[in-house]
């Protein structure tokens, strides 16, 4: 839904509302419209892109990107490297001009507005802290030298409050080269948030942190965002991060939007074979779809449901497969034969790697809550079996 549509619906709803007040009409429809108007005021898109195209020579980096983000929402943008994530973010921020399409913030067309007048926050992957300024001066920068500079004591008050919020109390006088990676990330975040942008773009904000810190910062990011009620668009190449962080996930594939949905929808019902691949949780087979049979180089499989896609593919989640000895009893379902290669221990689960015909690696995940993992012999053949209902076919 685009912004003008929201606005019109809101206007119509208000008209009906006035009618209802003045003429004392009691219609159930009007009550419903009032409720709708209220709901829309809360959920109105604060930001929308419409048909944004960005080309570099013959290469189309962004191909008619259209989506909108609601107020107070956490959206993650997932895509492999080269999918156009960063270009998209830079286009929204105003560092790149789109070749076609519009960028709206609220009701304002910002497509031709220069970056420093857009009031869209941007948190850089490498933090981009000003190395010659202290933590305090970094955070205060936007208040002092931004579009609307404010009095120095107000700057001080807001900056100190923001430092408290991001957990940097008392570190204001430090130089930004004297603090740890996690603290730098907080400074970068505070510096952007203190200017109170409606929308904050985060470009792989956790990419430069080590794994332990990354998990802690995820929780922090969510807490800070919820406290301020600001909208985040978080770009990441990590599928777990995208699913964990976002109220909604946008999946970008070669400059196009492949899917926009809630995390569990993306996870359980990927909209294309490529989305399934990016999630890193599905074994994806190429093949031919004929009626209700999918023929792959590894055999014919039945499937539960079908998702329209340009190319045919078959996807089965790692944890929906089971491996058993090849001479054991066969009890229907889909099966394929593969040789065992190795296992990887993940703590709560074990992933077994098998190799099917033609060197295709198939992953089988065994959750340790379902008992200890089976022992497999390297090089021996096993049968991998799954329920066709668990599989998704694209095509």
């Amino acid at each position: 839904m685009t912004v003008p549509l929201h606005r019109d619906a809101l206007g119509v709803a208000r008209c009906f509302g006035n009618l209802h007040n003045s003429q004392r009409l009691r219609s159930p429809y009007i009550g419903a419209l009032d409720a709708l108007a209220g709901k829309m005021a809360v959920e109105a898109a604060i930001f929308s892109l419409d048909g944004v195209v960005k080309r570099y020579g013959a290469h189309t980096a962004l191909d008619s990107i259209t989506f909108s983000i609601k107020n107070n929402e956490y959206v993650s943008l997932l895509g492999p490297s080269g999918s156009g994530k960063t270009v998209l973010l830079r286009t929204i921020a105003g560092f790149e001009a789109p070749d076609a399409g519009t960028v709206h913030v609220g009701n304002h067309d910002k497509t031709r507005v220069p970056a420093h007048l857009r009031a869209i926050g941007f948190v850089f992957q490498n933090f981009a802290l000003f190395p010659h300024l202290s933590v305090f001066d970094n955070v205060a920068f936007g208040l002092r030298y931004g579009i609307m500079p404010i009095a120095e004591d107000a700057v001080r008050e807001r900056t100190l409050k923001m430092l408290d919020l991001v957990g940097l109390t008392g570190l204001g006088e430090r130089g930004v080269t004297q603090i740890s990676g996690g603290q730098k990330q907080r400074v970068a975040l505070a510096r952007t948030l203190v200017t109170e942008p409606k929308l904050v773009l985060l470009d792989e904000p956790l990419g430069a942190l080590d794994a332990n810190l990354r998990t802690r910062m995820r929780i922090e990011l969510r807490r800070i965002r919820e406290q301020l009620g600001v909208t985040f668009l978080h770009v990441t190449g990590s599928e777990t991060e995208a699913l964990a962080m976002g109220d909604r996930v946008i999946v970008l594939d070669q400059g196009r939007i492949a899917q926009i949905a809630k995390s569990d929808d993306v996870y359980n019902r990927p909209a294309s074979a490529n989305v399934a691949r990016f999630l890193n949780r599905y074994n994806v087979f190429d093949g031919v779809l004929e009626g209700d049979r999918f023929t792959s180089p590894y055999g014919q499989f039945g499937f539960g449901h079908r998702v329209p896609d340009r190319r045919s593919a078959y996807a089965i989640r790692y944890d929906r497969l089971a491996a058993r000895a090849s001479d054991g009893p066969q009890n229907g379902g889909a099966t394929l034969e593969a040789g065992y290669v190795a296992s990887e221990y993940l703590g709560s689960a074990v992933v077994h790697f098998f190799e099917a015909k033609g060197g295709k690696v198939i992953e089988v995940e065994h959750h340790l809550s379902n008992g200890p993992p089976a022992k497999y012999v390297a090089g021996a053949r096993y049968v991998l079996a799954w329920k066709p209902d668990d599989a998704i076919v694209f095509g």
Binding site: H116, F124, N126, A128, Y145, G146, R191
Partner: protein, 303 residues
């Protein structure tokens, strides 16, 4: 120091973090022995010698190693010499400002707005092209440019902007300043462009995203980050301008006498003691200027 040299140094440093031999090994000091011997013989001892000679007794026809303050008194008692001391300082300050005013925007363009490294290097090399001709030719070439019947006056008259030729262009302090600015501006451009080239572009984008316009970003981010380059450029220009004599000799028509010109005249008439006095004064001024400039930034932090 060219920018290419400086860049090469920067790339080599990380590779050499693991020393082949222990750092405090006595044998490693032999590596600097040639430099120490050379610099002692041809820099330290001569400077001490100049200080010593400045106290010698100078008579019309000879100089003898009898210590006296006569030459120092002659210098400070003479209006000519004191005036030339102030002229030197004034011209130094003016040229420092003009090379900065001309050089900084150039460096800003080359170092920050040209993001293509090849083009950046090509532009910096172009700045050095005038150095392919000899110093004297570069200075003397200003005469047909600035003279009463020089190129600038002819063009301005031809365009009808002026009726009478501007005579103040040549053989004045102005011509000396123009000449020196042209010769020394490249020493300002190089180090500044190098520092600007090292600024992470995302810093400027971050400042823009926070709502700062170009001038604020220039004042609060770009200039402070390029300050070490400005200081290094200012040191180069200062040291060279303070010791100048050729430009003022060729373009001022003997009207502008810098300390350097006095040294040349005194040495020419074999007045070694007075020349040494001026030499000591110049060296002290340069020392103070360099020390003062180094206080502005901590260059150790930048390397």
């Amino acid at each position: 120091m060219s920018v290419a040299d400086a860049q090469a140094t920067v790339t080599i440093v990380p590779a050499s973090t693991a020393p082949l031999v222990s750092r405090d090994s006595a044998s490693s000091y032999w590596l600097i022995a040639p430099a120490v011997i050379f610099m002692s013989l041809f820099l330290v001892i001569p400077i001490l010698m100049i200080v010593y000679v400045s106290f010698w007794t100078q008579t019309t026809f000879k100089i003898e190693a009898k210590l006296t303050l006569d030459s120092w008194q002659t210098f400070f008692a003479s209006d000519t010499y004191i005036t030339s001391l102030f002229t030197t300082v004034r011209i130094w300050l003016i040229v420092l400002v003009t090379t900065f005013v001309v050089g900084y925007p150039t460096a800003l363009f080359v170092g920050l707005f040209v993001r293509n490294k090849t083009l950046q290097t090509a532009l910096l090399v172009m700045c050095v092209i005038p150095f392919w001709t000899s110093f004297l030719i570069r200075v003397l070439a200003w005469r047909p440019m600035l003279g009463k019947e020089g190129a600038i006056n002819i063009i301005l008259q031809g365009l009808g902007i002026i009726q009478q030729p501007i005579e103040a262009l040549l053989f004045t302090e102005l011509s000396v300043i123009i000449g020196m600015t042209q010769i020394y501006v490249v020493f300002m451009v190089g180090p500044i462009a190098f520092m600007l080239g090292r600024i992470d572009p995302s810093l400027i984008e971050a400042a823009r995203d926070l709502g700062a316009d170009f001038w604020r970003i220039l004042r609060k981010i770009i200039f402070p980050l390029s300050l070490p380059g400005v200081v290094v450029g200012a040191i180069f220009v200062s040291v060279m301008v303070l010791g100048e004599f050729a430009t003022s000799a060729a373009l001022s028509g003997r009207k502008v006498n810098l300390l350097g010109n006095i040294i040349v005249t005194q040495v020419g008439s074999l007045k070694w003691a007075l020349a040494s006095v001026v030499g000591v004064i110049l060296t002290v001024i340069m020392g103070l200027v360099v020390a003062g400039l180094l206080r502005i930034v901590d260059l150790k932090k930048e390397l």
